[in-house]
Symmetry: C2
């Protein structure tokens, strides 16, 4: 394939899901699968799947389908999951601690090396063997340990400044749980997990589908209805 080919963000965002499904297939000792079968499982059209996987040279064969293990390995390489990543957690609160306690990360090569916080009550403690350091030690720590990713789970009021410092100190990626949008240099990658935004989106959909008016409509034709916005009420 054209090595300069660019992959659309939409496809990139679907890759982890492909990787997850292919991993499940491997665990069930399924060695090959057609785009049609994969389509049924993943609930994406078969043509979409073929299109997506064509981005990577397309590993499918007419009548044979995809070699699950090969495809899984290729996507693993494409996602860069064939190496280890050093991560730190900035903010030792509930979410930060939950992430440190999430053992699946290590299995995948996502290694949380340290936690940083300003709270003297938790500095010096360890969470599942990972030490909580004073945030004042963070610059030195990052410079002495090659840290790929900072997981930001600190109050939004502090997140923007901290993210800028981290970028200055050479952190390449921010996984941002702080409920604020970061302003970092273009060459620093950010992935936001704004939990409240996600919940609000869900509530919007529920509210629209089950609003009184919609409910009647819903019962009338027995079908879920599309969101309706009516500012008149």
């Amino acid at each position: 394939m054209d090595s300069e080919k660019r992959i659309s963000p939409a496809v990139i965002n679907r890759l982890p899901r492909y990787y997850r499904y292919l991993g499940d297939l491997l665990e069930s000792d399924i060695t090959r699968i057609s785009s049609k079968e994969l389509s049924a499982k993943m609930n994406i059209t078969a043509s979409q799947i073929r299109q997506d996987l064509n981005n990577f040279g397309g590993f499918g064969q007419q009548g044979y389908g995809y070699n699950v293990e090969y495809l899984h390995n290729e996507i693993k390489k494409i996602l860069g999951l064939d190496r280890l990543y050093n991560m730190i957690v900035v903010g030792g609160g509930n979410i930060g601690q939950a992430l440190v306690n999430y053992t699946n990360f290590e299995k995948r090569g996502f290694v949380i090396k340290a936690v940083f916080d300003i709270n003297p009550r938790i500095i010096g403690m360890t969470i599942r063997g990972v030490e909580v350091h004073d945030v004042d030690k963070m610059e030195e720590y990052i410079k002495n340990n090659s840290i790929d990713v900072a997981i930001l789970t600190l109050p939004r009021s502090k997140a923007v400044k901290v993210a800028n410092d981290l970028a200055k100190w050479g952190v390449k990626g921010m996984w941002n749980f702080s409920h604020v949008d970061l302003q970092v240099p273009e060459d620093v990658l950010v992935e936001n997990v704004h939990l409240t935004d996600s919940l609000m989106t869900l509530l919007y959909k529920i509210n629209e589908m089950y609003s009184e008016e919609s409910e009647l409509h819903h019962l009338a034709n027995g079908l879920p209805i599309k969101p309706i916005v009516d500012l008149e009420d």
Copy 2:
């Protein structure tokens, strides 16, 4: 506006972000803002903002801009944030506990009423005043308390079956942290928070931007480069 007008998912997904920024403006006693100013803050084009907000009848006025409080309230209504939502957490592990401890939810009217788990060691405990119940009591609980949303933070192996039960018992929405895609009836809304997928997407982007080849390219033109996929290596 046409009350049957449908709002694209992309716009719906941006609404919580508008709501967040408008809330910040209110806190800073800013009463009105132009699409241009909002554009600079949110890093969305002004025309995109005008387009998005036009979905709701457009509250902007030439030369005046948007009335922040009015717009904030309208979006609040549109998002259905002018009421309370009863939620339960299914799975009292790290993430589940972190969410129960996240006090901001209550401030917004997202009320976690109970946690359910199978682990006898935590059943009967309370997390910030929220009791952990035996999962066997869940059906009865849901039927006696009108539960809008179930937050799924349980092992993927169990999530699919539990989600189906919850749907049967009348739960309208699932906020799914379990690392699996749910299969629920069309009239049950699901919002996935697949943390590992999100982290993988970030690592992909880092890996591509900072891969050796890219790094040279990167240094050469001093610009962040788009992801390059090369299966030849």
